[in-house]
Every structure is written in structure tokens, then in C-alpha cells.
């Protein structure tokens, strides 16, 4: 990748090197603003749409509570206890996945790197499947299995890749190996269990917000927001890491420790999301790349990535719930919408600049 980065001058670099872009420039700010408005509008649609007929006033009333017009208890239940957790989950989870993807892609300087490619999603799925087979299908068991599986996988990749420092290439290859091993294990378990269980497990494995109930979402969202609040501290280091190992060391960065801390942050974000929603594919990979093209920045813009991830997951969930006639997991819609959009962006970029 490094040779590739040298070949194109910075201004003309269309695709290629993955530099993190830290400061908010005007265009990125505008992108964030537009995405923020989109998130508000989509969030309102998410609170309002559903089988239970609601008026816009009722939605606002239920959200704000007294002294505004008091709503019927059932309206409050539908809006605040049923719809709100799911909307918040989509927004926060999307942003968290995008942040972790941005960290992975910047640290490894590879646009294909994302926590799902590196095996964390497969590890969570393995944990979930084992919990399902051994403990039966209780949600607590499934969530614990996913959490433990994801964390053990991250730990295994880290320990296996650790040898005279954490070289990014070795880290990637070990991730590929562990990921492939776990994917094979998952296929094997799915082939061995009965079809009904496998179908249920696969729906979870595609990533779904059907289990985003208040009890699961509020703790996860609080944890994720707390973790995301740590991001600004990591950004300055990320800017150094993006320059390449040698230059970063020369500027006095304790590279291995910082890289490990950044990746730990990314892993924490993904694990928390996966525990509640299953391995939602593609947001972590696509959101930073989409954001970079929207903001027209040479590196990966962190703020715009977060906003893109949030809007991407929320709109995908709305489509999955209300537009598609079948009940499909949100992860399926995410990859279709995100994939089509990313293809279109790449195509347009080629026409205007390439």
C-alpha cells in the first residue's frame, strides 16, 4: 500500500492511501450538518411509523412529556418504549460501527480492513452459535456468547500477531487466518444443527435490530456514547499513525502502545454493538469510504464517518421494517443500500476526476 500512496500527488489522490483526516474543514462540516438533519428527519419517521396509527403531535407530545399536551398511555408506550430504543440503537450503533471501521482502516492503511473482515464478527457469531447449541435460545445466553466470542477473537488475534511489536501486515494476515477459521467453524455448526435453528441463527448472523428493546439498548448506548467520547483523545495519534510506521516513530509516537489502544477502542465499539444487534455487516467498511467521498477529503474524516454510519443504519432499518414486504434483518438491507450507494459514489468520482 505504501508504494501506492507515493504514486499519486496528494491533491490528485482519488483512491488509495487511507489517511485519517482530523480537523473539520468547511465541506466536512456541511456534510455533517446535512447528515444530522437527515438523521433527525429519519428518526422522527422511525418514531412515527408503525402499525399503531399516530399523529405527529402525539409523537412530539410523548417525547417531551408534560407540560406539553399529555398523550394517552398507549401512545407513550408505543413511541417511547417501543420505537425510541430502536431509533436510538440504529443511530448510535451505526455511528459506533463507522468509528471502529475508520480506526481500523486508518491504522492498517487499507480500505478493505474493517472489524468484520478481521474476524470479530465471525468470532461473535461462533460464540452465539455455541451458546445457542449448548445453552439453548435464551437472549441472555445468546448475547453473552456473542460478547465473549468477539472479545476472545480479538484477544487471540492480538496475541498471535504480537511479535517484536505489532507490525500492521502481520496483524492483517493473522486476522485473515483467524477469521477464515471461525467462518469455517460457523458453516460447519450451521450444517450440523437443524434447519429451523440454523435459520434463526442466520437471521441473527446477518445483523438485526429486532431485539433492540429498551432493556438492551439503553446500557449499550450509554457504553457506546461513553466510548465514543474517548475518540477525540485518539485522533491526534491517529494522524501520526497514518503517516506510516517509520515516520510516526521518528516523530516520537510510542507506536505499538498507541496502535493497540486505538484498536482496543475499535474492538470495544464493535463488541458492544454486536452483542445487541448481531454482526451488522458492511457499515464499518462502507461508512468511512462513503464519508470520505462525500467530504472530498484525502483521508478518512472521522466526524463525517460517524454521521454517515448513523444515517446508513437508521435508513436501512426503516426500509427493512416498513418497505420490504418480507421480514428481513437490517443487515441485509444495509449491505444492499450501502453497496449500491458506494458503487454510485465510486462511479461518479471516476467520471468527475478520473
Amino acid at each position: 500500500m505504501r508504494a501506492a500512496e507515493r504514486e499519486a500527488p496528494r491533491g490528485a489522490l482519488v483512491v488509495g492511501g487511507e489517511r485519517a483526516h482530523v480537523g473539520l474543514d468547511r465541506r466536512e462540516l456541511a456534510v455533517c450538518g446535512v447528515l444530522g438533519v437527515a438523521a433527525l428527519v429519519l428518526g422522527f419517521v422511525g418514531l412515527w411509523a408503525g402499525d399503531f396509527p399516530l399523529t405527529a403531535g402525539e409523537v412530539v407530545g410523548a417525547l417531551l412529556g408534560p407540560p406539553f399536551p399529555v398523550v394517552e398511555p398507549i401512545v407513550y408506550t408505543v413511541v417511547v418504549e417501543w420505537h425510541l430504543p430502536r431509533v436510538v440503537a440504529a443511530l448510535v450503533f451505526g455511528a459506533a460501527l463507522a468509528a471502529s471501521g475508520a480506526i481500523f482502516q486508518t491504522v492498517t492503511r487499507n480500505p478493505l480492513a474493517s472489524p468484520d473482515v478481521m474476524g470479530l464478527a465471525n468470532g461473535s457469531f461462533t460464540g452465539m452459535l455455541l451458546a445457542l447449541v449448548v445453552l439453548g435460545g435464551s437472549w441472555a445466553g445468546v448475547m453473552t456468547g456473542a460478547l465473549v466470542g468477539g472479545l476472545l477473537t480479538a484477544g487471540a488475534i492480538y496475541l498471535l500477531a504480537l511479535r517484536d511489536g505489532l507490525r500492521d501486515f502481520r496483524f492483517i494476515v493473522v486476522g485473515i487466518g483467524v477469521s477464515a477459521f471461525l467462518a469455517a467453524a460457523n458453516s460447519w455448526i450451521l450444517l450440523r444443527i437443524d434447519v429451523e435453528t440454523a435459520l434463526f441463527a442466520s437471521a441473527w448472523g446477518a445483523g438485526t435490530l429486532n431485539n433492540a428493546t429498551a432493556g438492551a439498548v439503553w446500557p449499550a448506548a450509554a457504553f457506546l456514547l461513553g466510548t465514543l467520547a474517548l475518540l477525540p483523545f485518539g485522533l491526534a495519534t491517529l494522524r501520526q499513525v497514518e503517516l506510516g510506521d517509520d515516520l510516526a516513530r521518528a516523530t516520537g509516537v510510542a507506536l505499538d502502545r498507541h496502535r493497540a489502544l486505538l484498536l482496543l477502542l475499535a474492538v470495544a465499539l464493535v463488541s458492544a454493538v454486536t452483542t445487541v444487534a448481531g454482526p451488522v455487516a458492511f457499515v464499518a467498511l462502507a461508512a468511512p469510504q462513503i464519508a470520505r467521498r462525500l467530504a472530498g477529503s484525502p483521508g478518512i474524516p472521522m466526524g463525517a464517518s460517524l454521521a454517515t454510519g448513523a444515517v446508513l443504519l437508521l435508513s436501512a432499518d426503516l426500509v427493512a421494517q416498513h418497505v420490504v414486504p418480507l421480514t428481513v434483518p437490517v443487515g441485509v438491507v444495509t449491505v444492499v443500500i450501502g453497496g449500491v450507494y458506494l458503487t454510485w459514489l465510486l462511479r461518479r468520482e471516476m467520471r468527475t476526476r478520473g
Binding site: I176, A286, V324, V332, L346, M350
Partner: protein, 330 residues
Amino acid sequence: MTLRPSPVALLVLAVPAALALSVLVGSNPVPPGDVWAALTGGGDATARFVVADQRLPRTVAGVVVGLALGVSGALMQAYTRNPFADPGLFGVSAGASFAVAVAVAYAGVTAPAAYVWWAVGGALLASLVVVALGRPTDPRVPPTRLVLTGVAVGAVLAGLTTGISLSDPDAFERMLTWHAGSLIDRGYAVTLAVAPLLVLGALAAAATAPSLNAIALGRDVAQAQGVDLRRSDLLALAAITLLAAGAAAVAGPVAFVGLVVPHVVRWCVGVDQRRILGVSAVAGVVLVLVADVVGRVAVLPGEMPAGIVTAFIGAPVLVLLARRSRATGL
């Protein structure tokens, strides 16, 4: 001169051993003497059926798949300069899977032998779309956008495949088996159907191999050395697509071989891309054949699909080798 056996020599010796194992070992045990009798036309009917109608076609399919995956994986990594690149990256596997899902769910196709045309069609169509959308207009620019387009299109197709199979339990069950990647019931008809693709792909690979070393130094350098980048790219893309499509049509998406074999081979034979290409072909054959044999006997009385065994065998090897200090980037 040292007496340490070179990895390449060991690998070449491993080919006949793997072939022999693939004919001798199976979930229907046949004594070696009877296998020989069946091969030479004698023996009892059961042994003849097991050896001539089951193991031999399967071995041929394994050789073809391993060869195709090894070569297309090595080419893919040399062309994209990305260690994550696997032969399915240009939408080949996703296209094949999507076409098979459509065939199973809506066209009522049930036999693996009948999947092959759907798989070939889907794979070629998907990769054509990817190349048409993402092909770099300036050949000196690294093909990162093509890679991302491949990922995006592949993700869309994979999402649609998941959607189809989750809404149809019967299709779901068949797609699980297809997705694991297996050589069970792949008769000569299946292998013959994709043979033209593979021959064309191999020719294209051979034609582009000499320019790969120059391209590895950087695309500007290669152009300065007189390499025709457009011709070389076109051949590489054609070779990758044809070989990966052929392999996916025969065995389903066996992702691991094409992804990992080139890494391991690179660490053993050095940086000459022509050697990497040739040795990857041999290593791919050995890995697929051995994985298939292990899968036949590992979980008796059932069989473990070869695509799962390749990962179970290959992943620990990859991780161990990656920990050595000689392991380097592309």
C-alpha cells in the same frame, strides 16, 4: 549445498501423494488391491462404482479447483497489491452464489450438476459489472477503486442472496451446503462444462505473468520499463475472472485457498511473481485434494465439505508462518 529439502521440491512430491490418497481413501472403504483392480477395469461392481464413478471424478474436480484458485489468488494479489484480495473480490463468488440462490428458490433447480451453468453465468455477469463500473481510466493509478467496487457489488449480491435464502427455508438449506464449498457429486460433466473457461483463464495468466514483476515495483516504474499496462491489466482481469468463476461453479465459494496459498508461497519462494504463480497452482491442488480427503474421513459417517477443511487446515498454517520473522508484505 545444504541437505535441507526445499519447500518447492516437497510440494512437487506431495502432488502424486495427494492424488493417490484421493483415489485410495474415502468414506466407503475399499482395500488398496481392489482399488487397483477397479482402476484397471476389473474388480467387483461396488469397488468400480466407488473408485471410477465417485473418487476419480472428484479427484479431477479437486485438481481443477485447486489449480484455478491458486493461480487466480496469486494473480489477484499481484494485480491489486492488497493482502486482503481473494479471487472472489470482483464479485465472482457473490455473483455465483446469487445466481444459484435464484436458481434454487425460483427456478426449481435442485441438482449440484445443474447449478454449474447458473453459477458460471452469475459469476461472469457480476465480474463484468464490477469491471465496467470500476475500471481505472488511467492505468498508472493503482486499482483501489476497482477493488472497492468489487466489494460493494459483492456486498449487494450477498445481501440479496441472504434475503432470498432467509425467506425460503428449502433454499436456505441448499444454500448452506453450496456455500460451504464441496466436491461431493461433482462428476466429469461439471468439470468439463467449465474446462473452456479454465483453459482460457490459464492462457491469459501465462501471458500476463512476465509483466507482473515490473508492476510489483510500481505502476509508473513498469510503464517506464516498457510494460503495456492496459494489455497486462486486461489479461490479468480476464484470467482472474475466468479461473475464479470456473472454480466457484464447480465447488462453490471456497474462499480460503486463493486468499492464503499465495501468502504462504511468497514466503517460501521469494518475490519472483512467475514462480509465485506456478508454485501457487501446485500448492492449491495439494491443499484442495488433502482437504477433500480429510473431509471424507474426519467426521464419519458424514462428510465435512472441502471448503471447511481447507480453512481448518490452512488457517493455523497461515498464522504460524505469519509469526516467523521472514513473513513480509506483498
